[in-house]
């Protein structure tokens, strides 16, 4: 296993909001990595609500990502409805209104594939409940690039299709129930994940 993980990416679809709340509630304050989330949402303009809902249940600040904002540890970023969210080097988070991928914008594959290319073995990818197969290609790439891959146990997922598709697509490192995914990411349950303690991304010097 790689020595240090610097960033966590999570993909969720149908049933995702409660699943995300369960995981995020387990993360400690001053969490040493940024957590970047794509959750499929239908309507634009529902943005503010999700961040508030999750923020109440998570010790870390939760926010909708704005184009080119710096990626900082200890903050949870949500992809806004209607935009892809990507990760690139150096730090700032780019959004995009390129066509939907897997009928979705934001798409989990878009986030995961861009993150894997930049972060390689410093990345943790998590796939949660959902009714489609978005994220499968992405989690496969994270695995190929040496990152750590986790999937919610399909038997307890509200909608198991997305976890099952991910498991079929890649050799997943850990398949766990929600409660344990949170603990695992927090480093207090299961195999400890050594997280970097320094700033995760260089900000661009101009």
């Amino acid at each position: 296993m790689a020595e240090q993980y610097r960033t966590v990416v999570i993909g969720a679809s149908a049933g995702g909001l409660t699943a995300l709340a369960t995981i995020l509630s387990r993360l400690p304050q001053n969490y040493p990595a940024p957590v970047v989330i794509v959750q499929h949402v239908k309507e634009e303009g529902t943005d503010g609500y999700r961040a508030v809902f999750l923020g109440k249940r998570c010790p870390l600040p939760v926010k909708e990502a704005i184009d080119k904002e710096p990626l900082k540890p200890g903050i949870v970023y949500l992809a806004p409805a209607g935009y892809h969210l990507l990760i690139e080097e150096p730090g700032p988070l780019p959004l995009s209104v390129a066509p939907p991928v897997n009928f979705s914008r934001p798409s989990i594959d878009v986030l995961f594939e861009s993150a894997a290319a930049v972060l390689g073995e410093q990345l943790i990818g998590v796939i949660l409940t959902g009714a489609n197969s978005d994220g499968s290609r992405g989690i496969k790439k994270i695995k190929e690039y040496g990152g750590y891959t986790m999937v919610q146990d399909p038997s307890e997922a509200e909608v198991p299709a997305m976890p099952l598709a991910a498991i079929e697509c890649a050799d997943i490192d850990a398949i766990l129930p929600l409660e344990r995914i949170g603990g695992f990411l927090a480093g207090i349950d299961g195999p400890a994940i050594p997280l970097a303690t320094t700033t995760t991304h260089k900000t661009k010097t101009s």
């Binding site: 303009g45 990502a65 080119k68 780019p94 959004l95 995009s96 209104v97 390129a98 861009s114 661009k204």
Partner: protein
């Protein structure tokens, strides 16, 4: 390690390709946000059944038609008429009343792509009984997109969604009054075009072409890296008259840019800004 080497090589190939395109055709993608660009290039490779980005270089350098197609792919966005209806409602309620205080108003739709936003704006101005005092400059770097914008014909399958959006903007009429449906297309009324000039302008390389009262540029800057974003925002700051308005996409922000001090927020939610009077250097200054 191997993967990292691959990614490094890919970045190098991308730089070479973009440099080649710039020097051959003058289109400058060198400061486009890299992660989205990488996805589009991957798509190109899959379509053309090529293994490496560098293989695109000879194809695009020697084949003008292939380059034209590439250009179209590079600028594909999925947009709607009256996207984010609440933005248009605020434009109607907060911006247009201020614009009406000028005798004549110039509006720049920068990066208008296939024109959905331009026609939305024209409809709005017409409903506010103000359109005859307006001139809209709709620009894009992609001539094929501009041709679609000029035609103003959109898929009939999208009209339902456009109508729903329109109805949420504080509309004063019926969306059906603004287009004619035929076969599977909806053609926007010719009358809407009367004060629109469609023309070629490249934000990455071209400069100011007139003093503007309002600039609409929603979801265009997100394709650029921060250097190019700052260049374009400087261009907007320079183009706008004192008190002129700048509208960005809902998830774009001046907050991380070099011109943040030049503008005051009018609507934080919909990213509408106004160029402040204080910092403008007038002829007397």
């Amino acid at each position: 390690m191997h993967r990292q080497e691959c990614e490094k090589t890919k970045r190098l190939e991308t730089e070479l390709l973009l440099e080649a395109i710039f020097r051959r055709y003058g289109y400058d993608f060198r400061h486009y946000a890299r992660a989205s660009l990488a996805r589009r290039l991957d798509m190109q490779l899959r379509r053309q059944k090529l293994a490496h980005i560098s293989e695109l270089i000879p194809v695009l350098l020697h084949d003008q038609a292939a380059f034209d197609l590439f250009l179209l792919d590079m600028s594909i966005t999925v947009t709607d008429m009256f996207r984010n209806p609440h933005f248009f409602q605020e434009l109607r309620e907060k911006v247009i009343p201020k614009l009406k205080t000028w005798p004549y108003v110039k509006i720049w739709c920068a990066g208008c792509a296939t024109g959905e936003e331009v026609y939305s704006l024209a409809i709005l101005l017409q409903e506010e009984k103000f359109y005859d005092r307006c001139q809209i400059y709709a620009t894009d770097y992609n001539n094929r997109s501009l041709a679609i914008a000029r035609d103003g014909i959109y898929g009939l399958d999208k009209i339902k969604n456009y109508t729903a959006n329109y109805n949420k903007t504080g509309a004063r009429g019926s969306f059906a009054d603004y287009y004619h449906a035929k076969y599977d297309g909806a053609k926007m009324n010719e009358g809407l075009k009367r004060n629109i000039v469609f023309s070629h302008h490249n934000l990455a390389t071209d400069s100011v072409f007139g003093e503007m009262n309002l600039i609409l540029c929603r979801n265009v800057l997100i394709y650029f890296d921060q250097d190019l974003q700052n260049r374009v925002l400087d261009l907007y700051a320079e183009s706008l008259c004192a008190g002129g308005f700048l509208c960005l996409g809902a998830k774009e922000s001046l907050q991380f840019s070099s011109v943040a001090d030049t503008f005051d927020p009018v609507s934080r939610k919909n990213n509408i800004y106004r160029k402040n009077y204080a910092r403008t250097e007038g002829v007397l200054g």
